[in-house]
């Protein structure tokens, strides 16, 4: 090898593994408690679950997938992948959060299957959402 790779040893891997198990236990435990009762807002369960999942994911990517110790170019590739994932999420959720899409009671867009009685638009609703 032309370059010495400073890869982690068995001890580091074992530590990361136990770290992952502890985080997993924490996320399962947290799922059974309703954090919205003690904290303002209403999405704390999701925020906590995904904060823990992200830390677990980061440990796997950085240590098990050798992004820290491997070639720097691989780290750039991996970073680019997750950056695009972030763009996908941000744009999609901004779009849905800022618009009202008319849906029927089954959650399907109302403009498909127009003969379906579930797609009937209530007159008052039509007044508030002109086509």
């Amino acid at each position: 090898m032309s370059h010495e790779r400073h890869e982690p040893g068995v001890k580091t891997y074992t530590l990361i593994y136990f770290g992952l198990l502890i985080l997993m236990t924490a996320t399962v435990a947290a799922a059974f408690y309703d954090f919205n009762r003690i904290l303002p807002g209403h999405s704390w369960g999701m925020i906590i679950a995904f904060a823990i999942a992200s830390v677990k994911g980061l440990l796997i990517v950085l240590y098990f997938m050798h992004v820290l110790s491997g070639p720097r170019r691989a780290a750039v590739f991996a970073g680019a992948g997750f950056l695009w994932l972030g763009i996908l999420f941000v744009l999609i959720f901004c779009d849905y959060a800022s618009r009202q899409y008319p849906v029927n009671p089954r959650g399907e867009p109302r403009y498909i299957w127009q003969n379906d009685p579930a797609n009937a638009v209530h007159p008052t609703e039509q007044a508030s959402h002109p086509a």
């Binding site: 370059h3 997993m24 990517v61 098990f64 996908l88």
Partner: protein, 227 residues
């Protein structure tokens, strides 16, 4: 021209390593790593879009999706998470053994990874079976009244659709991984990998950890969002 199996072994890459188009072993390793990550990025984009769709519907139909999560078997999901995290650990030890040319340890860790992978698929199958018996499979036998007589919210069917699509795609990746892993075990036993040449083990490790990574996010998304 048919190549006899006995010659396939001798034609393994380690004898022609690094391949003629590369400057040196390091360049071949970096190229392989970038190729694998390019593939994994397409996987991130693909599964990421499904996650995005899931959350768009979850924000819209919060109650129904919470009800759906409550009908899943969180205990089996947790056991499967432990199994998969452990298999990632044994896989990284296999990569470590391969890099140090420890052939016996390599085979041992690969076989352990294989067993854990099979265990994951078996537990997932058990879960599917239970869900089938509880009439939770859209398109097969989904009912709007549960086996305990409870009325399921209308949009819970959508949740179950996401659940089966996401976990089945994940399980398919596990099966593909197990097939490749089986082949790698055979090659490792034949001594195809050395301290100098172990790129296939390394690249498979990336794939295996990625499948684990997807599960790390699938597990809370489907099973744990109960409020």
């Amino acid at each position: 021209m048919v190549i006899p199996m006995s010659e396939v072994h001798t034609a393994v890459d380690k004898d022609t390593f690094p391949a003629s188009q590369f400057e040196d072993a390091e360049q071949q390793y970096v190229t392989a790593t970038l190729g694998m990550w390019s593939f994994l990025i397409t996987e991130i984009m693909f599964i990421g879009a499904v996650f995005a769709a899931f959350f768009v519907y979850r924000f819209r139909w919060h109650e129904a999706f919470v009800h759906g999560a409550e009908e899943l078997k969180w205990m089996l999901g947790t056991i499967n998470t432990v199994v998969l995290l452990t298999s990632s650990y044994t896989m990284v030890l296999a990569v470590h053994a391969a890099r140090h040319g420890a052939q016996k340890a390599l085979v041992r860790w690969l076989v352990l990874t294989f067993i854990l992978g099979c265990a994951f698929v078996a537990i997932k199958g058990t879960e599917y079976h239970i869900e089938y018996k509880e009439h939770l499979v859209p398109g097969l036998n989904y009912t709007e009244i549960s086996h305990t007589g409870e009325v399921r919210p209308v949009q819970m069917k959508l949740f179950m659709g996401f659940y089966f699509a996401m976990t089945a795609v994940h399980a398919l990746h596990m099966l593909v991984g197990l097939a490749v892993l089986g082949a790698l075990i055979v090659f490792a036993k034949r001594g195809s990998f050395t301290a100098a040449y172990n790129n296939p083990i390394d690249m498979f490790g990336l794939y295996w950890h990625f499948v684990d990574l997807v599960w790390v996010f699938l597990f809370p998304t489907l099973y744990l969002l109960r409020h």
